[in-house]
Symmetry: C2
Subunit: 502 residues, 2 copies
């Protein structure tokens, strides 16, 4: 069923609605949008551009073609043929009731209707709706296109099948649906955030710390821990081998101490608002909101990628999402046709910002990384898949010759043309050419000698028959192509008196 | 003055004390430890081993030789000749008073005495001390050897100069000293943590979520944000162009809603303790505490490295610390002697875990990264420094020939031997040999052709006279060395019928 979600409706385009729309589109879904606010369309297009910039850096896996964006003139028109509907209008219950009633009246029966509400319970949202079985809370976190968490809250009135379908669908977007066991105002995360927010207001009001100092207390300390483990798992470690009971025995008493001021709610009077606003200006005023968004997104992308490398937490969600994307791509590679007299086109990439040297060009070792990925694609193409590796055989690079001909700037698309220069019982000689996909400039060339090895004996071994057959076919198809003039070339000596050749 | 801190005393070796000791030692400081607990020494050595494993992965910059660890038989003996003293005994005021009195009596006058207390105010710690001017709060966060934050809290009784010296010293350890404007119980971070902790206890008690679900609500959502920006800067973005005032106007009212239960303190009765402990077992029981520590540390290292690449937040602290370490290393390079008839030894490295392929060997592109770093060291050696780059000239690699001879496993130390094969007006030809620093196995070789370029015109230009002079000297010193047999070699064709050479 989740496979069938092709069209999504998004009602309301604030920061959250816009983030939802971007995540939908970037995952190849068509999105119908409704928001009566003037300038809503321009705002959405800007948000999508910002989101895409970051989202495309999140993974090198090939993303699907973005879906189509359509602006509807009414809620009914937007939701009529939607397979999933997300409501993100302002946090006023009367408004939500009006909008949800219109949605429910026009939507196909059984279509999941998620609300982005950060505070209301589903039973509150469902009040007065003719049919409430499909309306539930799907509360995401800003930026919606990068943060995986989406809190799912249902009421007893909900149809279980609809909720399960919605969760499965959101999972395919690279999100982490977290369903609450019972409905409660503000769900889980916002309760924790509100607690920190209240305490922080007191710290500012009492002049213990400025907004910047409070932020520093978070981002140089426990904030780093919470990006990868939460409160309880972190404290479990602190408890040591004695475990959680020991920790509770140690830490519990502190709860009785008169530390926090949370028993009162600080009044947000003009003086406190002024103080916070001016401290925030002093802290962040040097950056525009656009700057801060880009900085935040680049940091989140980098953090998610680092956790992905460690196969942990939010990084695992990205990895699973990536695996789905790669599966499609590899399926393409495996079935790619061999065009007689043509080099193979098996790999494309893009120069990521974190690949740049101080000149803003792709740094040296990344060229080899891209060529290495192209070699992997070639090896998959000739049948070196996970099953083959599992037999204890693999192919290693034993020799590489690189030529850097032109610089690749950040953001440039790369496409690799691959040729088989020869192969024998144990060796494969290939050549890659790296082109800019913008103007077809030849950026670099690579020549590799690959050796088939028995990984258990760690010594050279004969290629499997399946691989050889495939290689023969490629060699045959490229037999009439002339050898690249640079193939087999070496780095030449410099004839200069003080050269050691003198 | 901070330059003169050579010896540190650490009193108390729990998780926090042990973390302090590791950070001190790994930054080259001698540490005198006192803790009467049986098995304290064994526990400390284990903690140091764990910490060193992670800390050495935090940066590729050369760390100083670890300091000497000494176990004293009394507080007096431990602190007598210390330049800085850190107290980390259990959180009981009477005990802290006893220990701090002993420390103050035996320490050299004016020696900073930091307390790791997470709850007490400095004025409380200072009660009854003959001299209180040097006793202050220096509250770190677990793991102390990785997290930069250390909260500094002084009382009116403190000597300002001592506090400033302590902050400067802690900064040289790669920490971020954050001083509170006023003393307050639990300082800043623990107040925020306590607020979250209290609310979380309610969520578990009321069965809204399990410990794992609460942790997920953190680490898949706002925890990722807080690793790089705090509460206020994040909300400033949410406020959009309208800024913080707009956000407060929007969000403020929610504070009046009856969301959190923070007005009460949940009683940690047996039932709640049982529930938390068993939920925590279900969540994390599959991992030992040691496993969790390694996972946490590897994640923190990866996150810190990703933020370093983005030059932001905690990553900036690491970068600054690294810069200090590199400065020393480069100073070494700049003054390294040219040994006649010997290759240059300008670069060493280590195979990091995140460099490994699925076989546990250094992945292909990392070889070129290490060779590239060695080339950078060589270029610094001949005078291509920041000042030279600032003139709009640089040196690019135009051609590379790599040979992979043996595999480098994770953790293996690498040393590079570099030879100048020749140079002319605009070009430099060099050869690197990569050896395992363990058994001197030759792992790989690299031959590079480098081209001197005018970066503004983006075209080849003559080497500066300073560089040429230095190159002549190196060429002279290596003139009698025979050319490596692999230098100038090319990848050979494979003579096989289906080779395209047929």
């Amino acid at each position: 069923m989740t496979q069938h979600v092709k069209t999504v409706a998004a009602i309301g385009v604030g920061v959250i609605g816009g983030g939802w729309i971007a995540r939908f589109l970037l995952n190849g879904l068509d999105v119908a949008v409704y928001d009566p606010a003037p300038g809503a369309e321009a705002a959405v297009r800007q948000m999508i551009a910002n989101a895409e910039r970051a989202y495309r850096k999140l993974t090198l896996a090939p993303l699907p073609e973005p879906g189509r964006l359509r602006f509807a003139t009414s809620i009914a028109e937007a939701v009529a043929d939607a397979d999933y509907i997300q409501e993100s209008v302002p946090e006023r219950l009367d408004l939500k009731h009006r909008v949800l009633a219109e949605i429910a009246a026009a939507a196909r029966p059984g279509t999941p209707i998620g609300s982005s509400t950060s505070g209301f319970k589903p039973s509150e949202l469902q009040q007065g709706l003719p049919t409430a079985t499909s309306v539930f809370v799907a509360h995401p976190f800003n930026p919606v296109y990068l943060l995986p968490l989406v809190e799912i809250v249902a009421s007893p009135a909900n149809d279980r099948a609809v909720i399960d379908r919605a969760k499965a669908f959101l999972g395919t977007l690279g999100m982490k649906p977290l369903e609450l066991r019972k409905e409660i105002e503000a769900h889980i995360a916002d309760r924790l955030l509100e607690a920190v927010w209240r305490e922080s207001l007191w710290l500012v009001k009492d002049d213990i710390a400025t907004t910047e100092e409070i932020d520093d207390a978070i981002r140089f300390g426990f904030g780093l821990r919470w990006a990868q483990m939460g409160l309880f798992e972190t404290y479990r470690i602190a408890g040591g081998a004695a475990g959680m009971r020991h920790f509770l025995a140690q830490f519990g008493p502190a709860l009785q101490w008169p530390w926090t001021k949370l028993t009162d709610v600080p009044e947000l009077d003009a003086a406190l608002v002024d103080r916070i606003a001016s401290q925030s200006d002093a802290q962040s005023g040097a950056y525009s909101i656009g700057d801060l968004e880009r900085i935040r997104d680049d940091n989140l992308v980098a953090i998610l990628q680092s956790l992905k490398a460690n196969r942990w937490g939010a990084g695992l969600i990205v990895q699973e999402h990536e695996a789905r994307l790669y599966d499609k791509a590899h399926a393409g590679v495996a079935t790619a046709a061999i065009e007689p007299g043509q080099p193979l086109q098996l790999h494309t990439s893009r120069v990521r910002e974190d690949w740049a040297d101080y000149n803003g060009h792709m740094t040296e070792s990344r060229y080899l990384q891209v060529f290495g990925d192209a070699t992997d694609a070639f090896l998959r193409f000739i049948g070196l898949d996970a099953a083959y590796l599992a037999t204890g055989a693999s192919v290693y690079t034993v020799e590489t010759h690189l030529r850097h001909l032109s610089e690749a700037k950040v953001g440039v698309g790369l496409k690799i043309a691959t040729r088989l220069l020869g192969h024998d019982a144990k060796r494969i000689r290939i050549a890659h050419e790296m082109y800019s996909s913008e103007d077809d400039t030849l950026l670099a060339t690579a020549e590799h000698m690959l050796l088939h090895v028995d990984t258990t004996l760690a010594r050279a071994s004969p290629l499997g028959p399946g691989l050889t057959t495939r290689l023969d076919a490629i060699a045959e198809s490229q037999a009439r192509m002339s050898l690249p003039d640079w193939a087999g070339s070496a780095i030449r000596a410099l004839d200069r008196p003080q050269s050691i050749l003198a």
